[in-house]
Amino acid sequence: MTTRTITVEFNDKVVRQFVLASIFWAVVAMVLGVLIAGQIRFHVLNFDTSWLTFGRLRPLHTNAAIFAFVGNMIFAGTYHSTQRLVRTRLASNFLSGLHFWGWQAIIVAAAITLPLGFSRSKEYAELIWPINIAVTVIWVVFAVNFFWTLAIRNEKSLYVAIWFYIATIITVAMLYIVNHLQLPTSLLHAYPIFGGVQDALVQWWYGHNAVAFFLTTPVLGIMYYYLPKAAERPVYSYRLSIVHFWSLVFIYIWAGPHHLLNTALPEWLQTLAMIFSIMLWAPSWGGMLNGLLTLRGAWHKLRTDPVLKFFAAGVTFYGMATFEGPLLAIRSVNALSHYTDWTVGHVHAGTLGWNSFMAAGMFYWIVPRLWNTKLYSVRLADLHFWTGMVGILLYVASMWVSGITQGLMLNSVTPEGVLAYPNFLDTVNAIKAMWVTRMVGGIIFMFGFLALAYNIARTILSGKPVRATVEVEIPEVPPREGLSLLGGFASAPVVYSFLLVLFGCLWGVGHGSLSAVAFVLLVETFLVAMIHMSISGARWGEWYDRLLESWLPFSVLTLFAVVAGGLIQILPMVFIDQTKGEDGNWQKVYTPLELAGRDIYVSEGCYNCHSQMIRSMVGEVLRYGPSSRLTESMYNFPFQWGSKRTGPDLARVGGKYPNIWHFQHMQDPRATSIGSNMPNYPWLFTEKTDLAALPNKIAVLRRLGVPFRELSAEEIGRDSLAQGQGIVDDLKSSGIEIAPDKQIIAVIAYLQQLGKYDPKPPADPPKENPGLETVLEGATTTVP
């Protein structure tokens, strides 16, 4: 075969841009993190200013850390390593540039809208719908640019890093689109099409797998390229790569509902989430092993090379966090840990220990090469390593202590059958010192990262951007892909895997003889597969080698692997009627004023500190009232079950205190709750409720299946003011004068109906499926 040699120049400009953006946004995210850590302990740091208040800044911190810092870092790593692994230049300069500038524009839009209170209140999915569309478009740009590059590659076989990038692109697209399905009520506001438990399930299917496929799989891909490069050692085990990749992407998706353990979520879903979380342990550790054991023979380099130091520690933190994760997903452990700081510590072990250490290792390795120079200071990088390490350990350890302390105190019941610590604030006061420790840890960590920023800046100033090239031999006749699409599926390993999953599911959900037959088939298939593998394992290996030469079948198989879990867990819940099948309390439809108050509650980010979900636990029932039921949140678009309790649960707070209590509490929480760390909300007392938006909002909710009465815009306004006047009159009897159109009145109206339910199901039940089919027919007509 004749070949010709060409010189390929890599597109490293976009890589350099992403590296710089990542470092910049990392500093922003860490400064914000330190500020909100301070706010939790010292409420004055909220400065009585709406756009500096915790509820609005915490989403900005998480979004900045995940999508701005780690996002830009994985784009840099993906583009840099993919070009070299497939020996070709990125397919399109235009798409690369659009990807970079589009992503930065999205981040800036987020940094403006979130502090202004434009929030969907779904964690890590808070951005409003116009930005959601932009994210989707830019993600598609990324996907096209990436897969197009694969299609024109000069290296036939796809290396394991590429597998992880493929899984990332496909899965994040799927998760993001489904969790952002919504109907706009205005240019800046929309309601999600899922409500109540459906919204909860979709949100945590997304939220958990944002961690899996945005913070984990792309960084594993980066590990697989940069770690062996820096260690100059072969990867430990190719077959471990195969087994842990496929088991990881298949199992991860199922574990989402472990964020909803002990809640009103149906038991079968809780059990499923727990057992899949436990099965996730080994696949995760497969990645850790392949990282750490690749360092065999290179451990001595750790003493001198900061890159390997960061990689070794990062992978170790990955192992620790992925052991802690399954542990926290055990139902009884979760009863203690959930809603406390333990979860916060867990996620920071991942983001600080795994993501930011892997990012640091990559930056220290990549920047001198991209600018053709040497790292400015190895000693400064060492300093960064040790300050980072101390910062993380202070952070994580203080969150363990505070989470476990508060969890134990809240759940503690005396032999007389009453709460040992009836006042929630007793548990807050017990952990305030830990909040200070956490903040100190965060500050130390931030300074370590600032050392990186300085070190990288000096490195860049000492060099010049380099045009990296590679000589590639290209055959005159372009080689064919290894397998056709059909050839990807029609092979023994794929068929066995499919059958095992099928029989496993039939065994699990079936009853009686169906289950028994499925079990026999399951065991039989497993045995046949094992025997077959021992005979034809080598041929399976050849088939897999050819699969690696075929990007499309590989990607489609990955899609199948990640789709299964969501289908089985979410679809049954999407197609049930939430008003039926439960003899619980039926949620009342909000009055217009209560709906307006709820939307203020949502946009202020109250869910960041307050849950609305009383779990099925003795301590919770004694403290907050009977455990929450699914029917109690069926009209909630979005759901507000929450994931962290810095303050108490609010599911049944309505009627517990008089209006004047809420009035004074929102003005100055310390007036009613001594020692409270909640911010003051002075602007709620001066700003007007947006009553004009209500007719559109109610129309959209009706379309989503909420049985609102038909009201004209005029009636809605009159209704709201009349209800507000009632609260105003009540406040007047305590000597307080306020107009009925102020936001605080709407918030009080909303809070006072929390926990007020109908004992009977709705007389005019909403359609079979509140949510889905109405949306499909109405999606085109709602944009105002």
């Binding site: 490069k229 085990s237 149906p266 059990t271 080994a282 007389e416 059958g417 009627g655």
Partner: protein, 193 residues
């Protein structure tokens, strides 16, 4: 694929190189495989146990049973208080002190640190809307006044702490008189939801 002259225990080094990166093809570590299979077997067994042995009852049913057992146990302990017992308690400095502690963290926000009232009523004057005998105060704290925003403290604080708070209030309010004679015991309070 394997090199011809390698020793039987040497790992196989795959010949293909990706941008200079090569891969060994080590066997999967046994302990890792045990972890993987063990977790899968545990998952299947746990699912079977919960799905088919009736342990999958809804959480709210489970917790209601637990609460019921708890309140039964609580009922068996100590008889319900009456005015005389509560008065006696108000003469005991230890009980008054613990009552004060409970009061400060749960009641002072509305009734004031000095008990002079605020959102809630003044507790130092002779005016008692719902009755000023020790047992009436005890009962009121236990049940609450829903319309006025006084929470139902019974299930939250429990009998002992409510009795101590009552004792503290009696000690602070000189207008409450010592009950004359033995009264009938209070009706069963609604402890537990």
């Amino acid at each position: 694929m394997s090199l011809p002259n390698r020793a039987p225990n040497d790992p196989v080094l795959r010949p293909h190189s990706y941008d200079g990166i090569q891969e060994y093809d080590q066997r999967l570590p046994n302990w890792w495989l045990f972890t993987l299979y063990g977790a899968i077997i545990f998952a299947a067994a746990y699912w079977a146990y919960y799905e088919w042995t009736g342990h999958m009852e809804p959480g709210w049913v489970r917790v209601n049973n637990q609460i019921e057992a708890l309140s039964l146990a609580a009922l068996e302990q100590g008889a319900a208080p009456n005015s005389t017992k509560l008065w006696d308690l108000s003469q005991d400095p230890t009980s008054v002190a613990s009552g004060e502690k409970t009061f400060l963290s749960n009641c002072a926000a509305c009734h004031g640190i000095d008990l002079k009232g605020g959102i809630g009523q003044d507790l130092t004057d002779p005016e008692w809307i719902h009755g000023g005998t020790p047992i009436a105060i005890f009962e009121l704290i236990t049940v609450g006044v829903a319309t006025k925003g006084m929470p139902t403290w019974g299930p939250i604080l429990g009998q002992k702490r409510i009795a101590e708070v009552t004792a503290f209030i009696i000690a602070k309010n000189s207008t409450i008189e010592k009950p004359a004679e033995e009264e009938p015991t209070a009706p069963e309070s609604s402890a537990g939801p």
